[in-house]
Amino acid sequence: MTNAIQVEHIAFGYWPQSLVLEDISFTARAGTFLAVVGPNGVGKSTLIAILGGLLKPRSGTVLLDGRNLRSYSTRAIARKITVVRQEFIPAFGFSVMETVLMARTPHYGQLGFESQADRDLAAQALSLTDTTQFASRPLANLSAGERQRVFIARALAQDTPILLLDEPTSCLDFRHQVGIYDLLKSIQLEKHRTIVAVTHDINLAAQYCDEALLLYPPCGPSDAEGTASTGQLRCRIGDTSAILTPQEIERAFGTRVFSGVVGRERFLLPLGTRAKDAGLSGRTSG
């Protein structure tokens, strides 16, 4: 199995004195579904931006199909990697269909127009994300959850081997959460896509992802492997069942979690001190 994205000792900081990411190394193999998990401010979105070539790491390298990401042109990256981010800037009333069609730009010529094939692909992406009914509406007039599905439709229309998603289901209801994860899983398996998704939904990650990358905050535990210059462990990658354990999650997030087993997979539930079941301890199965 080839490596789609290989990250070697990258560090990044927005300000000269501080580092958001430090000594991060991992590999996303082609055709896998990788979850990126970690507390707020640990650099998950920054990591996605670096993997997508939007930010330049201060040190270390990112290899895309074995070649340094910096050696690709912006357009060449856009043919290989799609980035779905949280941010939305309303712009002059572009409709949903127009927004999704923009993702076809890297595939047609400089002054090109979308071909019928591009239009079909965009229409298909809308239908897969349950957004066809919004096609002619201005994007800004949708709710946050509807818009999030449109952004995923746009990512599908860009049709690249690698998808990087920043909290793709943060605004979605239950039905659309599993809808999007089912969709991502199916394109991973059927089209052999590589998917890297930042998520706070550890339970969905456990159910759908193959591997998980857990990022620890700077004051996290120290460990022998994957440690930064300060001697602290900053990230750990492995099968979801090995990484998304109550112990690891408690260490990374600094909160108590309650866990149980659904069938094959574990579920994790954070419990604060004022929760109704705060008195419970340990694990249950069900």
Binding site: R75, I81, F92, L111
Partner: protein, 355 residues
């Protein structure tokens, strides 16, 4: 149903653009422009008929006065109005897209005050030389416009590469500073100089040198064509720089090229005709309201409609108080304002406005 629900059921009026639609609309706008230019060149303080202008004078030694008015006054003036209108509208479209700001116009980054200051300096210093047949006023205005945009751009870069607010604020402050300098010069100017300055600042359409028209028109046309080639990227940049990069647009390069080209054509327009407000702000919005936001269409159609609008406005300016003439800037606001408000009320319920 709640008001939010009603808003959300609104559909946009425009369909996604196809090459056929684009071609059809551009051809229609070109036909309209040619027709308007033709009609307006016959209208003026002295109406002339095409037949009179084209008829051969009985005595070849005496020139046909209608022909002379048409060729040496009306046609240059109509051509100038068309190219200035097109340049301002195209540049307005570009600035609105790049700054992601519906209030942006070609003057927002200080071109107007820079050009005004340049013109003022030329008038006060009383230069009498010419450069390639241009008066020092035009040359100084051109230099002042480009110099100011460069200054604002450089200051904007210092505030950070990743947002436009710094650039906009730099533009506003430089504009205010240069406007104060203009007022200072006005306060110490002699009355004759003052009149020349006011005449220039309010915009005028007098250009009789065909060579200047061809060169200026050629540069403006080339600039608009260049912007048209950037228009797919402008679409994508208007949804955000980071998203644009992840869709494969070289954001920095595109922004620099689009800024430079639109500043250049605006500076040409300003140096030829003075400050004409309103066209660069209103025409892009009017076209966007009616046809939708796709820049591949917005840019060429706005340019053509901007040309039509300024030709009409200038014709009104020269006939409405004939034999006197109004500054064309007064007319653009007086015709354009009510017309735009009608469009606004008619269409704005059907489109989304960025807030």
């Amino acid at each position: 149903m709640s008001s939010a629900g009603t808003i959300r059921r609104v559909r946009s009026v425009h369909r996604p653009l196809t090459p056929r639609m684009l071609l059809f609309r551009i051809v229609a706008a070109v036909v309209l422009l040619v027709l308007i230019m033709f009609l307006c060149s016959l209208v003026g303080p002295q109406d002339i008929s095409l037949k009179a202008a084209m008829s051969r004078p009985a005595n070849p030694a005496i020139a046909n006065p209608s022909h002379q008015i048409l060729v040496s006054v009306r046609i240059p003036r109509v051509l100038l109005a068309a190219m200035v209108g097109a340049a301002l509208a195209a540049s307005g479209v570009t600035f609105q897209a790049l700054l992601r700001n519906p209030l942006a116009d070609p003057y927002i980054l200080g071109i107007s005050s820079g050009a005004g200051l340049g013109a003022m300096l030329a008038i006060i210093s009383g230069f009498s030389w010419t450069l390639w047949g241009r008066s020092p006023i035009a040359v100084f205005a051109f230099g002042g416009a480009l110099g100011t945009v460069w200054l604002v751009w450089a200051i904007g870069r210092l505030t950070g590469k990743y947002h436009t607010t710094g650039l906009l604020l730099a533009g506003v402050v430089v504009n205010a500073f240069f406007s104060a300098l203009i007022l200072f010069l006005v306060s110490i100017a002699k009355s004759q100089e003052l009149q020349a300055t006011m005449f220039w600042l309010m915009g005028n359409m007098i250009e009789e040198d065909f060579l200047v028209l061809w060169v200026g028109g050629g540069c403006i046309t080339a600039g608009i064509v260049a912007l048209f080639f950037l228009s797919p990227q402008l679409n994508i940049i208007s949804i955000g720089r980071q998203d644009a990069r992840s869709i494969g647009v070289s954001v920095e390069r595109t922004e620099l090229a689009a800024f430079a080209v639109s500043a250049f054509i605006t500076a040409i327009a300003v140096s030829m005709s003075g400050l004409i407000g309103f066209v660069g702000l209103i025409i892009p919005h009017a076209v966007r309201l009616v046809l939708g936001p796709d820049h591949r269409q917005l840019l060429p159609v706005s340019s053509l409609i901007g040309a039509v609008f300024l030709v009409v406005a200038d014709t009104v300016a020269r006939v409405i108080v004939a034999p006197a003439q109004l500054p064309v800037g007064v007319v653009t606001a007086m015709i354009g304002g009510p017309f735009f408000l009608i469009l606004l009320i008619r269409y704005s319920r059907k489109v989304y406005w960025p807030t």
